[in-house]
Structures are given as structure tokens and as C-alpha cells.
């Protein structure tokens, strides 16, 4: 049995046919770009709504047998710029409001995209630091379509390309590489977070103040280079012709552990009939950090809190502060003997304030079944910090407005829910 057929059967058996398309795909399939409408506005609920699925993801299948938990997956279509036929739809892409930019594993990409080059013709390669690892690979250009939206000539990162297999020491000094399905946990990451680019102005500077994210790589070897704002890997949403000021993630309420749940990634805030703010409260965030403030048990964790669909649990504080023990076999999970019902208060920089009720359940119990892809109550320590990961999204419509983009509630960045 081929890997893909096995994978398809696993996904079908777990979650049904639709999920097999949206979240369980292996390396993706080539297809023509017939599905990308141009957004006539006659049916906006179709053109700006992308299905997402929370499930065990593409790494769950053999040979990895390494199921994700609380990952929101979707698919994107990338085309050679200007082409409507030289295209590929890639599934198993993690939806991440904690980063910006599309990153795709080289092993999942079957079409050849044009390479971005420096003024001397050398290829541009990026080192993108995540929390405990980096992605390394060339910056290439694609027309990306998702739902009815299109980002033309979008700079993306192709991770783990064999053409650039030597990672500079200056890059691995940020952490070990996440350059394949096993280490990345997805076929790619769709960063639709608060910032328009992944780096910003710091990467346009030369000398010691350049953080070392972009490299020029002639045959003689790679060296850190400057990268203009418009050449950096971009949040694809800002390149959309419309619905380009942010995203909404809508997921159903979850009680305990489930195999999978389906929801929507909706583009634009207040730009269509289906993406208004309604009664949501707007919490503006510190534009330099992308954080706001959370108060828990009377202590304020100022500018140290964030909402992030790309974190797979609620990560907050520590056992000494919360009184919740960690698991004996995994110090990165909480393992209360009985489910804890807790409350915290989020505060925006605009003075908006609202309480959040949340649960912390026993992680050993929640993660015991490897077919579980969804677990409300999964939580772990994150000393001094509140990381409102994907369980925060269950039962909420969460808006992420992008820095500098206008919305009916003012310019981003902000979160609303």
C-alpha cells in the first residue's frame, strides 16, 4: 500500500472525506487553478471563507505516526506567478496567527517557483526563528490563492530545500532546524498574524543591528544581507486585493477530547456581510511586541500575553503560581487530578478589559488516545506568560487585525472576540 493511500484511509477512517482533503493530505497534489474565483462580491460568503479542520495533521500517518493535537489545518494553492495552470494545492498547512508569512516544506512542493535574488543575482535564503527552532530555506515567489482570495507575487519561504542544505552557524544559533514534516509538524505554516511581514524594519538595516534573518547565498557561501520590506516574506492577507485587513477564526465549542472539528478561516474584518465585528470587544495590542496584558489571581502580566492559533494548548504561568501540578511524565503539561475551572482578565492597550473563563484538564488523560486531534483543557506551564493557544479559539470567533491596516474599529494591530 502506498503511503498516500494508507494516509487517505487513516484520515477517512478518522474524520471523513472532507478532512482528508483539508487536513490529512500528505505531500499535496498538483492541480489546475480552477477553484480561485476573482471575488465578484455576489457571494462573499464563498469567496472569503476557507474551511479549516482541527485534527491530528499530516504527521499522524505512517511512517511518522506522530499525531498533532490542537492544530488547525487548511490547504493553499500556489502557482508560478502569472500562471493559472502551473499550480499546486498543498494540504496539511497549519493556520498560525502567531507568525506572518507562508512557509512550505520543500518535500511537499512539487512545482518549481521562481527564486528571489539579490541585486548581484545571488539567491536570497531565509533563517526564520520560531520559539525553539528555525526554518531555513530559499525565498521564492508565488501567486497564492485561498478561498476566493489571491496574493499575487507573494514572497514565501521554501523550507528544507536540498539546494541550500548547509545552514549557517549564525542561523542554528537561534535553535535546531525544523525542516521536515517530523520537526515542523505540518506541510507548511500559513502565518496570518498581527504583522504585515515576518521581520520588518530591522532586516532592512545593515551591520550589527541586522538580526540575521535574510541571507544572500552565492556559490561561495551565505552571508547575512539586508532585505527590503516589500521583499520580505509577507503576511499573504495584506497582498489580497480586498479583505486584506485581518482574519477571523471560527471554531465550535469543544468539550474534552475529540477526533476532529471543522471551522472557518474568514478573510477581512468589516469588509463583507459575513465578517463584521458585531458584538466582539476590540483589544488593541502593543505594536512593538504584539502582546497585551493578562491579569490572573490579582497579578498583572503586563505586555506578556498573546493569542496564538499556532500554539497547541493554553500555556500559562507555572505550578508554583497556579497550584496545578505538571504531569510526572511530561513537565510541559499540566496534570490536575480534577479539571480546574479558572478565570483571567485580558486587557488591551486601549483599556478594554474582559474576563476569560477557561478549563485545565489532565493532559495525560486528554492525550492518551493517539487519534485525538482536539483537546479542550490541554494546558501547560509558560512561566511569566499567557499564551492563549488554540483551545482559546474553541467556541469563539477570534479576530486578528493586521498592523497598519484600517478596519471599522480603527487600524490594527488588535485582537477582538
Amino acid at each position: 500500500m502506498t503511503r498516500r493511500r494508507l494516509l487517505g484511509l487513516v484520515c477517512l477512517s478518522l474524520t471523513g472525506a472532507w478532512v482528508a482533503t483539508a487536513g490529512c493530505g500528505g505531500s499535496g497534489t498538483s492541480s489546475s487553478n480552477s477553484g480561485s474565483g476573482t471575488g465578484t462580491g455576489t457571494n462573499p460568503s464563498v469567496s472569503n471563507v476557507q474551511p479549516i479542520s482541527v485534527n491530528t495533521g499530516p504527521s499522524a500517518a505512517a511512517p511518522l505516526n506522530s499525531p498533532y493535537i490542537n492544530g488547525a489545518f487548511t490547504s493553499v494553492t500556489v502557482c508560478v506567478p502569472g500562471s493559472t495552470t502551473n499550480c499546486q494545492t498543498i494540504s496539511g498547512i497549519l493556520v498560525d496567527t502567531g507568525s506572518s508569512g507562508l512557509r512550505v516544506l520543500s518535500s511537499a512542493l512539487t512545482i518549481s517557483l521562481p527564486q528571489q535574488t539579490a541585486s548581484d543575482g545571488s539567491p536570497i535564503v531565509e533563517c526564520l526563528p520560531f520559539i525553539s527552532g528555525i526554518t531555513w530555506g530559499p525565498v521564492q515567489t508565488a501567486d497564492m490563492t485561498i478561498a476566493g482570495e489571491e496574493a499575487k507575487s507573494l514572497p514565501i519561504q521554501v523550507i528544507g530545500s536540498s539546494n541550500f542544505s548547509t545552514i549557517p552557524a549564525g542561523c542554528t544559533s537561534f535553535g535546531p532546524p525544523e525542516d521536515d514534516l517530523a520537526t515542523l509538524g505540518a506541510n507548511g505554516i500559513l502565518g496570518v498574524g498581527s504583522f504585515p511581514q515576518d521581520c520588518g524594519s530591522a532586516c532592512t538595516t545593515s551591520g550589527a543591528s541586522n538580526p540575521g534573518l535574510y541571507y544572500s547565498c552565492p556559490a561561495s557561501g551565505c552571508a547575512v544581507t539586508t532585505e527590503s520590506i516589500s521583499s520580505q516574506v509577507q503576511n499573504p492577507v495584506v497582498l489580497f486585493a480586498k479583505d486584506n485587513n485581518g482574519v477571523i477564526i471560527e471554531l465550535p465549542a469543544v468539550s474534552g477530547a475529540e477526533t476532529s472539528v471543522s471551522g472557518s478561516l474568514i478573510f477581512g474584518i468589516g469588509t463583507e456581510s459575513n465578517n463584521g465585528l458585531g458584538s466582539a470587544t476590540v483589544y488593541t495590542i502593543d505594536p512593538s511586541t504584539g502582546n497585551f496584558t493578562t491579569v490572573f489571581n490579582g497579578t498583572s502580566y503586563a505586555d506578556a500575553s498573546f493569542i496564538d492559533s499556532g500554539s497547541n494548548a493554553l500555556y500559562f504561568l507555572d505550578s508554583n503560581t497556579t497550584g496545578i501540578p505538571t504531569c510526572t511524565d511530561a513537565s510541559f503539561w499540566y496534570c490536575p487530578t480534577a479539571t480546574q475551572n479558572l478565570s483571567a482578565t485580558n486587557q488591551g492597550t486601549n483599556g478594554a478589559s474582559g474576563s476569560v473563563n477557561f478549563v485545565v484538564a489532565n493532559a495525560d488523560t486528554l492525550t492518551a488516545n493517539l487519534s485525538t486531534g482536539v483537546a479542550n483543557g490541554l494546558a501547560g506551564p509558560d512561566p511569566g506568560t499567557f499564551d492563549w493557544g488554540l483551545p482559546f479559539f474553541y467556541g469563539r470567533n477570534v479576530y486578528t487585525a493586521i498592523e497598519g491596516q484600517n478596519t471599522p474599529a480603527g487600524a490594527g494591530p488588535y485582537w477582538a472576540y
Partner: protein, 151 residues
């Protein structure tokens, strides 16, 4: 500011690029770097431990906690980008990198890092453009110093 830190000697080194001593190393290189780079130095008197605070040119703030015996027993950092962790973690960098890779599979997804090994604790959190981290060697912590003091 924490009173325990106030009671220590607080050193501010404002030089633009080089980091200094790393986790587990001794503090003499901090002074050497400070002299070489002609950075500014701010000192308050105290006895329990020293904190060397370095403002990296890329925006990260790195603190190195030095015991009375002159050893760096803890480091912390925050900023829009990680500092050079190979330099900050020194001889512990490879142990850190190994532990990250070991933990990935059991974590079942992406999130902050929390490594607690007998000889090394590393915590890294945050998101694109805002990272925080700390690392310490439990056996090297001076008496009376608490994890919460490292921030």
C-alpha cells in the same frame, strides 16, 4: 524591581555587539569585553549576586547572573529576536539542542519550550517579534536564590 536584585551589584554594559560570558562560564570575560568596548558601566552595591545586563544591537536584552564565586549560573533574554544562543548558552548549547529534538515528538505540536533536566533548565516562549527565554543550571544556583529571581 525585585529587592534581591537590588541588593546585588547591578551592572549595565552598553556596548553594541559582543555578548560576554556564557552559562556555566566565569565572569572575567564580561569585564574584558566591557573594557575593550568602552561600554558604560552602572554599579550599585550589594552582596548576593551580580547581574550583567547587555543590550544587544538587534534589540535583545540579555542578563547574565553571576554568583559570588564568579560563575554565570543563569541567563535570561527578551526582545524581538533571539540572541546568539550558542554564545549565551555556551557549553550547554548542544545539550539544549538535543533536548529540543527529544521533546518535539511528545509535545504533539507547536508551543513554548520547557526543558527541565537534572543539570539544565531552559524556558523559551513568545512569538514572532517578541521572544523571552531563560536558562539556568540548578546545581550552580547560589543559596537563597530562587528561579523567580531570574527574569
Amino acid at each position: 524591581m525585585n529587592s534581591r536584585i537590588m541588593s546585588g551589584i547591578f551592572v549595565m554594559l552598553a556596548f553594541p555587539f559582543a555578548m560576554s560570558a556564557s552559562l556555566g562560564g566565569d565572569a572575567t570575560s564580561v569585564q574584558a569585553d566591557q573594557a575593550k568596548m568602552q561600554g558604560s558601566l552602572r554599579t550599585t552595591s550589594g552582596t548576593s549576586y551580580n547581574v550583567h545586563e547587555i543590550q544587544a544591537s538587534t534589540g535583545a536584552t540579555v542578563k547574565e547572573y553571576v554568583s559570588p564565586a564568579g560563575k554565570v549560573f543563569a541567563v535570561s533574554w527578551q526582545g524581538p529576536f533571539h540572541p546568539d544562543l550558542r554564545q549565551v548558552l555556551g557549553t550547554y548549547f548542544e545539550e539544549y539542542a538535543q533536548a529540543v529534538q527529544t521533546q518535539r515528538a511528545s509535545h504533539r505540536g507547536r508551543g513554548p519550550l520547557l526543558i527541565e533536566q537534572p543539570g539544565l533548565v531552559v524556558q523559551i516562549s513568545g512569538h514572532m517579534r517578541a521572544f523571552v527565554g531563560k536558562a539556568y543550571v540548578p546545581q550552580m544556583m547560589p543559596a537563597g536564590v530562587h528561579v523567580e529571581d531570574i527574569r
